[in-house]
Amino acid sequence: MSTDLLIIAVCAASALLLVHTLLLIQRYRADRMAFEERLRESELRSRSVTEGMRDGVITTDTDGTILEVNRSTARMFGYQGAELVGRHVTALVPPRHREFFAGMITSFRSRNESFHEDEREAVGLRLDGTEFPVRVSFTDVRAGSGRLFNGIVRDVTERKRNMDALLASETQLRLITDSLPALIAYIDADQRFCFHNRAFLHYFDRTPDEINGHTVREVFGEEAYAAMGPKIAEVLAGYPVRYERSQANRLGELRDFVVQYLPRYNDPDEEDERVVGFYSLATDVTELKRLDRMKSEFVSTVSHELRTPLTSIRGSLGLISGGVAGPLPPAATSLVDIAKNNCERLIRLINDILDSEKIESGKVRFELVPTPLKALLAQAIANNEGFAAQHDVRVELYVADESVRVYADPDRLHQVVTNLLSNAIKFSPVESVVKVRVRNAGGLVRVEVEDRGPGIADEFRARIFQKFSQADSSDDREKGGTGLGLSIAKAIVERLDGNIGFTSEPGMGSIFYFELAEWREPDAPDAAAAAACPVRRPRVMVVEDDRDIARLVAIMLERAGFEVDVAHDAAHVRRRLVEASYDAMTVDLKLGDEDGIALIRELRHDALTRALPIVVVSASADEGRIQLNSQTLTVSDWLQKPIDENRLVQSLRAAVYGQDHGRPCILHVEDDPDVQRIAEAIARDFASFEFAATLAEAREQLAQRRFDLVLLDLGLPDGSGLDLVADLDRLQPRPPLVIFSADDVYAPDAVNAEAILLKALTTNEQLLEAMQQALRR
């Protein structure tokens, strides 16, 4: 019984053991399989990595026999993958390079340490015999005691093609710029030379090393840079520049150059537009200038030389027709008159040619003075009276505003009017009237000369102001014109910054006109408002689409002594700029749907408003500042909304008068003129003063404008200065207060003042310090 039990127990134990063993084996096999699986995966992964690579991967033994290649290699060299295995790696390079490659592999083999050879250029050979550029690098791989070489090959056909194209285009660019007879350079925002053509080197006798990477200041020297610096600043601010400059060449000869700078912006796809450098093109115009001088001298000499024989001819004909040489038969008289008239016309022609040359070449200096227009027109009409009478034409003058003046050279303007008048008279039908009118339009004065002549034919309109361009030779020549009158008139009007034109209806007559800016005296000082600080109330345009804020800003500025106009949108701004000139402008960056920055850019590109001080007042001033700075659009200041009145006024004063003139204004309430004078003498250097001798005057002053400080005497003829403190406390912002009073007047401690000084105990220095401290608050 016990034996049976024992056997059963042993059997059971064996079975358990067997089951356990089987379980163990099974787990081992599972582990093993998982391991192998992982191994395969890893190998697959690494293969898929090399297979997926665009670069070719070639594995060789240490003799250079190919063991494995990835798909890219095969494709690159035009083989089926397996075809390459077993070949020598030098089969992939042209025969002429094979020896070199074999040698390289030998040298790899002889190295004992691991190595990594950097990429080098080589030539690949495809199965079909074609060659292509590659870059190849080598490493070795150690596997236990074995060693393999790995080559990584990259097809650089595309890259090389691009490089070649780039090189070719650069070479081409060089060839072009080098063969141009101008100095060409590209200079970066740090004012360093990045590019220059050969003429540049040749001209200054420099080597490329002496120019490349050097600053303009280094290359041209301090003296020349003094002239160039401002122009460079201008182009780097985004404005194209053109100017003339004399520059010594390598022989030390001074040559004349026309220099042009063109800004270069960063790539348009980058967000912020900014200037990254500029192109400089300098053309030697010495020879042109010499030729121009020669031309002028020639014209001048010819006109003089022609004049000499003409003097004899004109004189002789004049004497004959004047009967000095005895009486002539009537037929001879008319012939002599013909000769004499044509002689005079020839003389006018010579005068006009000389005139036209001088005006156009800018050699005539214009003496510009405020010129009363009515008197000038009346004079010109009187001078042409005889001519008008000859043609049986009457000239009438209509001037509404007798006092209107223009800023011009009276003699030259007279010449313009005479030219227009004589044309009008010549082409008028007999017994008709030529009307001369003066109109005022938006700051411009327009002078019109209207005739009832045949009008200007359509085909002639475009040429009418050109030289020698009479409408019809048989027509104007018959009228005795030189063909230069309108061309001269145009040249003069343009020199006076005006414009000239005409309207005409064939058969009905013509109106020729010119327009010049009206001359206005600078406004007389406005005693009531701003006598102390500005001489004239500076005019500010507030550009703000929110009407309430615009009104608020206007009120703040008006109280500070500015004259204010409001514009609500960009179109409004443009309109206002035509109507009046401004000393400064505030701009909100968000103008309804429009962009304040675009507006500022537009203003900066207009010659008239390029230098107009602009203060940005905006809820997004900081954001705008970043945007604007990157565009190098200069503005005077930035103010954040909500608006701080003090900041606004200070900032506009600084913008209008420059930092130095943004001086604080002090109201001194004091009935003793001596004390007034002393206080002003002490603080004159940093502040301006307004005085009030009574409480009533002080209240009036405070109601009119804003002060930066009130200096207050307490004993005033019409009450105690303390009564004014309550008025000050009501002001927004409340100006700082310094009480400066006699010691017999009691000032309560509780009074809200920055300082309380007693006259008898206060030195001038202490008063000065108290005022400055209060102003700094």
């Binding site: 003089h304 004049r307 000499t308 003409l310 003097t311 004899s312 004109r314 000095v324």
Partner: protein
Amino acid sequence: LPRPLARILYVEDERDIRTVARMALEKVGGFAVHACSSGREALVAAATAAPDLLLLDVMMPGLDGPSTLAALRMIEATAATPVIFMTAKVQAAEMAYYRSLGALDVIPKPFDPMELSEQIRRIWAAQP
């Protein structure tokens, strides 16, 4: 008042102009005219003939108008003789320059022979 103008010393290198102007001055203006063809000749004539007025061409070979004027001013007999220039250089700046040399005025060429004498009389009457 300046004394009446009667005797004019006229200096001009161009013969034809000299002929025409002389005729204009004598026949139209009724002046007594002594004509010279160069500045040098004029210096001698001016010192001896004591004219009331010199009418002086500007552009002449040798001594030109301005040099002749300068030389006249250094000779006692002619130091105060009034001078009028005649010139074909008629640009405003040129005319102003010749006036600034101490001439009464400048008459541009070509001139109107029937007007020339009247023009000279006006200038003569206007002198300070």
